[in-house]
Amino acid sequence: MTIPVAPLSTAELEERLDEYLDPVLSSRRTAGGLAAALAEFGRSQQEFVLQWVGIIAKTNAELAFQFAAQAPEGLRLMLPDDLESWIIQAMDTYDRMGLYPASAVFHDSATYAVRARTRDSSVTFDDVSGILEIFVRGLSGRALKLQPGEEIYTDTGTLFLPASLARLPNKEGNFRLYKAMAAHQWAQTWYGTFRADLSEVLAGFPDQEKATQLFHALETVRLDACLAADLPGLHRDMQELQNTLGQPAYPDAWNGQLQALRTPGASVQNTIDALRALYGAAIPPPLCYQGTLQAGRAEQVTAQRAAREKDQFRAALARLLDSKEKHAEPAAEPEDESKSRTERLRVERTPDPDRPGRWRYEITIDGRPVAPPKDVRSTMDSIVQDLGDIPDDYLVAAGDGGYQQDGGEKNPDDVWKGTYHEEGAFLYNEWDYRRQHYRKHWCVLREVDVHPLDDGFVSRTRVKYAASIASLRKSFEALRGDERLLKRQKNGDNIDFDAVVEAYADMRHGMEMSERVLTKLRKLERNIAVMFMVDMSGSTKGWINDAEREALVLLCEALEVLGDRYAIYGFSGITRKRCELYRVKRFDEPYSDMVRSRIAGIKPEDYTRMGVTIRHLTHLLSQVEARTKLLITLSDGKPDDYDGYRGDYGIEDTRQALIEAKRDGIHPFCITIDTEARDYLPHMYGAVNWALIDDVRRLPLKVSEIYRRLTT
């Protein structure tokens, strides 16, 4: 029997809350009210709230205040598990969007409680987005993004779906509803809902809003008919949803118009005609998967894409012409200017035998067909998907320099020059041990190249360690996978005569003859891929950095002998939004002069945020095929970053990242020179997976030695 613990009094509660919330309290805003409200609850509930107030206050004191204010309501509405996920949701929201939306989550405890109760049946966007994204891509057409949104509509580039669905009593049903919503939006992009100038058409009606709704209702009829013809199974699912969630009710007077919309080959023009005929009629209630139609936004996105694709297409035509001219012998007669490059181009349109009712496009130059490269083909497909055809003004090859527009990779450095954005970066979660949850997409990591440096560092090192390198090479050579002749095998390439003679003698003596009389040549292959993760934090400045670079030179020399695949990345960064990974050598890169000068170019940078680096390198390493995968860290201290990534927080996140790596079949190992490493490395890497080198000068030789020991 547990002894009931007395609840805390208002005064005690206030004292504790004051401690956490101090920064946001003032003479006019005290914790008194909060404490009074909490005083009614039992001790365990009070402690629960206080604990979380403490945790949240570490992130943001104001948010903690909001939580404390809403906690009594939450306690009344939810069970402890649900409470916790409510809090985590708010903190995730804070991470993503900031204080105001996060407070809104706390204020909205009622909604959250309802959602918690329907959790067994509800489905969230995160549950389904992965599957649906593949699904939509499989259906064909251009790649569409999926995003959660308040409104359910498509702008022809992104499908917006609700953040969660609980309209049906089970998960399966709600997934079907998600699927139907996505399919309906996909159908809009595929069957040409936006091929007409919708905004203009709709603006012609007195009540534009009403016209839009009616148009959408009618267009849905047309799209459903298209789906019924092309994807009967999907159509059946959508029908079932209608049976459960409400059938469309169209007046009898509409029959003629609906018939026209359902005729195969009906286009958006038919829908517009129907709209004109039926405008004024009452709008039928929207179907469960219909969402809304945002003609303006769709047209905006389409226009942007069209402009971009027009450029791409014309640039591609120019490239095609260029390559044609390069290969062709000098033209027999320089034709007059009027028959310019443009006139030689044609896009031939022939009915596609494989897809009745559609066209097949072929580019011809001077009447001869050319096979467009793959990217051009997908551009053409996308143009046709938007416009239904390739208009004549697209058939003008871009002039000189025209195709540099928007081309090429973005320079990662540019990101920091303008306002911050995450395009082209890798986003990784980070483990917050206090919350016992991941902070989603918390770290922004970019790969950049180490600036190569030709200062003779590598050759100096090679001279300095010439003797050591020679002996290292020798000892590594001994490790190299060799062919070995296996004797007395059941299967093999050749006869093991010793065994045969023996077996024969055995047989003569009346004993059973051995089957193992063959030899087999087997190559013992080392199938190892190793990733070196080198600390480039500011604290390595000076001789540690020198030792690291020397160690890398020696390692490379040794590994080249061994033939193991290896990659080297340096890491550093400042704050979660600027984690940087410096490429020194990728797996598929040879140990070239370039790599050597990059090793020389490794220099101390900023801080050490290890978790995100490990996660990214794990990702890279898991793409390599090898029996044994190693992730070796060279470090000089604890994980440490500017924005609170230190102490237990950094250590726990690093540990979590290493656990994830192990789950992917990667063996992490750490070589450190931090004499205090005993205190935290075993916790992070495990009892045996680390080595401490107490004398920095010995680092270069030790690293290779440790590597040899590790892999034999």
Partner: protein, 270 residues
């Protein structure tokens, strides 16, 4: 001397294997054969390379020796080895040596999978020398004009380890295979499985959907072979969705999300 002689007849293709030409590949192969030039077939798995070889062997009236290469296949697996019989050793030809002796068509399927030393024995056979040195017996087998070497390889694998060396590929006439055009593919499914044209059409559409996913999480879309499998299951009375799942979706991927999406795609058609 042959301890394990396989008669030429066993390799003869007796009845005409069903094959729908995709283009001029039959004429090209015949021309290569007449000129004694070896042939390299490129293309994704299950698009009809092996069937094409069977068909050509039948057409040319030559025995066909097929070797499916695997990563432990060595040169001596192809050329031959000594075996021990009662108190003596006997030489047994490997499939390649046998094919050379009987003037057959030797088809090495997925050649890049085999050990690197196999290319050494192929090279002298694949140029104008047309000989197979049998190191262990000291023989030099000369190929008769009827002999033909064909290899296949799938360029879709993006592994550096599984690439064909230039010195090998430049000995062959290369023929590219791809999945047949939709109408042709439907005809093949109908013919191979006996299923109705309507279902075959849906299957081809479904295959198209999975091929849209190539490079976006799938290494390869559904092959014609898988479609035939699915169709056969359906003819036997299996529910179409179940058949697509078993024959196609599960065969393509193990990734749970991808699998779920592919199953949804098949469900949207049937």
């Amino acid at each position: 001397m042959d301890a394990h002689a396989v008669s030429t007849k066993e390799y003869q293709v007796k009845t005409e294997p069903y094959y729908e030409p995709q283009g001029d590949e039959i004429a090209l192969f015949e021309a290569a054969y007449r000129n004694q030039i070896p042939v390299l077939l490129k293309g994704p798995t299950g698009c009809g390379k092996t069937r094409f070889m069977e068909h050509m062997a039948w057409r040319l009236g030559r025995p066909l020796v097929t070797v499916s290469c695997h990563d432990d296949l060595t040169a001596s697996d192809l050329v031959g080895r000594y075996l021990i019989t009662s108190a003596e050793t006997a030489w047994v030809d490997g499939p390649l040596a046998h094919a050379v002796r009987i003037g057959a068509i030797c088809y090495l399927d997925e050649i890049v999978e085999a050990r690197k030393d196999t290319t050494v024995v192929i090279h002298p056979l694949a140029d104008d020398r047309r000989v197979l040195p049998v190191e262990k017996t000291g023989e030099l087998l000369e190929a008769s004009p009827e002999f033909c070497l064909a290899i296949s390889y799938n360029p879709g694998y993006q592994s550096v380890l599984k690439d064909l060396k230039q010195s090998t590929r430049q000995r062959f006439i290369a023929m590219e295979f791809d999945y047949p055009a939709p109408e042709l593919e439907q005809r093949i499914i109908v013919r191979e499985s006996g299923i109705g044209l309507g279902i075959a059409e849906k299957l081809v559409k479904f295959a198209g959907m999975t091929r849209n996913l190539k490079g976006n999480g799938l290494d390869e879309g559904a092959s014609t072979r898988l479609l035939v499998h699915a169709a056969k299951l359906m003819v036997t009375g299996i529910d179409p969705r179940r058949a697509c799942r078993g024959a196609i979706a599960e065969a393509l991927t193990d990734d749970a999300e991808m699998l779920a999406a592919i199953i949804e795609l098949s469900a949207s058609l049937f």
